[in-house]
């Protein structure tokens, strides 16, 4: 949906994005200081907690490090508030269109007896004030203001093209019944629909506010998506009813036990021969100790309570434990991000 921010909102979002870009430069400068302090990936402590103390201790006098920390803290604690403020400045103008896009072929239903899982209750992911459902239009605010005016400008690579590109890792076939776990505001869902125009898509998420935005996206394009408020580890959807189960950037937002549940639910809902494609952050084991430190340190201060346990998993091994075959896990195009796990449910024996 096209809309224009007012001056204050636009300039605020521009500022926080500019600060984010400079945060990356400060961190790069800090890396040089780590090296000059005699710390290197192969000499850092193996234990992550010990390593955090080691690097923080070595950088205790580094103004670049402390300024980076300050900038990262301010950006993560403020970007959501600024985005809400920017939205409120144009709310009167665009709210009728947002409400109108709630009408159309795509509907939202809720799993009977649904309750927000304990692991998500009270958590302000990404330090978003009030959490994912903290504002009546949080899905729109996150998708159209935070993603387009902040994350897109500060995150390495093109976050939208990445969502499209990972789908090319699937075998060359037409998927027709797709389940997306953690459908969020529909950024990835629309890429799935573009790639597989005939696919019937079911999108599951625990946040109704985000699914409302996915609903607007679908209705704007005339797509009919089945959007379901439910936990990805317990969707209640029929067994063996999809030929592709997929997610993008869900797994680092849920604890290890839930990730195992999500993969088990994917296996249950996939038909024999169906494919699994999960994309998320770079696992710790695929990084050197210094990169791992920075990943963890950023998560520690960025509202990512489950990053550590998620990034510690070997998802291809989990796939095999659950019965998947042809499981592989790797960085797209040989890069550390986005990180893909792909596998297949075996054909029925006999």
């Amino acid at each position: 949906m096209d809309f224009e921010l007012r001056q204050r909102g636009r300039a605020s979002m521009d500022f926080v994005a500019e600060l984010g870009l400079n945060g990356a430069r400060l961190r790069a400068a800090t890396l040089a200081e780590v090296k000059s302090a005699g710390l290197a990936p192969d000499t850092l402590a193996a234990d992550l907690d010990e390593r955090v103390a080691q690097v923080e201790g070595a950088l205790g006098g580094s103004k670049a490090f402390h300024t980076y920390a300050l900038v990262a803290d301010w950006g993560s604690s403020t970007h959501g508030k600024l985005a809400i403020e920017a939205f409120e400045q144009v709310r009167d103008e665009i709210e009728p269109r947002l409400k109108a896009l709630g009408e159309g072929p795509t509907r939202i239903r809720t799993k009977p007896g649904y309750q927000l899982p304990d692991y998500a209750r009270g958590v302000e992911f990404h330090r978003t004030t009030g959490g994912w459902d903290g504002h009546e239009y949080m899905g729109f605010i996150h998708a159209e203001l935070i993603h387009r005016h902040y994350v897109y400008k500060t995150f390495p690579g093109d976050i939208f093209a990445q969502r499209r590109r990972v789908l090319d890792e699937l075998p060359d076939r037409e998927f027709t019944r797709v389940l997306e776990l953690g459908a969020s505001s529909g950024h990835y869902t629309r890429m799935i629909q573009d790639k597989f125009p005939r696919a019937a898509i079911t999108g599951v998420d625990t946040s109704v506010r985000f699914l409302e935005q996915a609903q607007r996206v679908a209705n704007e394009h005339g797509w009919t998506w089945d959007l379901l408020v439910a936990p990805g580890e317990d969707t209640g959807l029929p067994a063996e009813s999809f030929d592709l189960v997929t997610s993008y950037i869900l797994l680092h937002e849920i604890p290890e036990r839930t990730i195992r549940g999500v993969f088990a639910e994917a296996y249950r809902t996939l038909e024999p021969g169906g494919w699994l494609l999960m994309t998320d952050v770079t696992p710790f084991w695929a990084q050197d100790r210094l990169s791992e430190f920075w990943s963890y340190w950023g998560a520690l201060h960025g509202g990512e309570p489950y990053w550590r346990e998620s990034a510690s998993l070997k998802l291809d091994e989990l796939c095999r434990e659950l019965g998947f075959v042809d499981a592989k896990t790797y960085g797209l195009g040989g890069k550390p991000y986005p990180w893909i796990t792909i596998a297949r449910k075996p054909e029925r024996a006999g």
Partner: protein
């Protein structure tokens, strides 16, 4: 807050040297940083607004507030704003982390 007295130190009646008074407790350093950045955001918003005001005034009459709110910078002005904002942020961060290449 620091438990120190709430007034600047001064020589006492005996003429002894004043003790150094710290207006901010060490644990307020993070708060100070956040305040600086919050203030910087406000400063930038105003500077941005001022620049646009100059453009809009040149193009239109006197009552320009709504015009400014809705003004969407064209490529040339946006380029100028981007450059000024980048320089502004670099100057700000340079004060916090002198000598760091940005």
């Amino acid at each position: 807050m620091s438990a120190a007295p709430a007034a600047p130190a001064r020589a006492n009646a005996t003429g002894a040297a004043p003790t150094r008074f710290e207006f901010l407790a060490p644990e307020q350093l993070d708060d100070l940083g956040r305040a600086v950045l919050t203030l910087a955001r406000e400063v930038w918003v105003l500077r941005d607004r001022q620049r646009i005001l100059e453009h809009v005034l040149a193009e239109r009459g006197v009552d320009v507030a709504d015009a400014i709110d809705r003004y969407q910078p064209g490529p040339e002005l946006q380029k100028r704003l981007d450059a000024e904002r980048a320089a502004f942020v670099k100057e700000l961060l340079g004060a916090l982390a002198p000598g760091t290449p940005l």
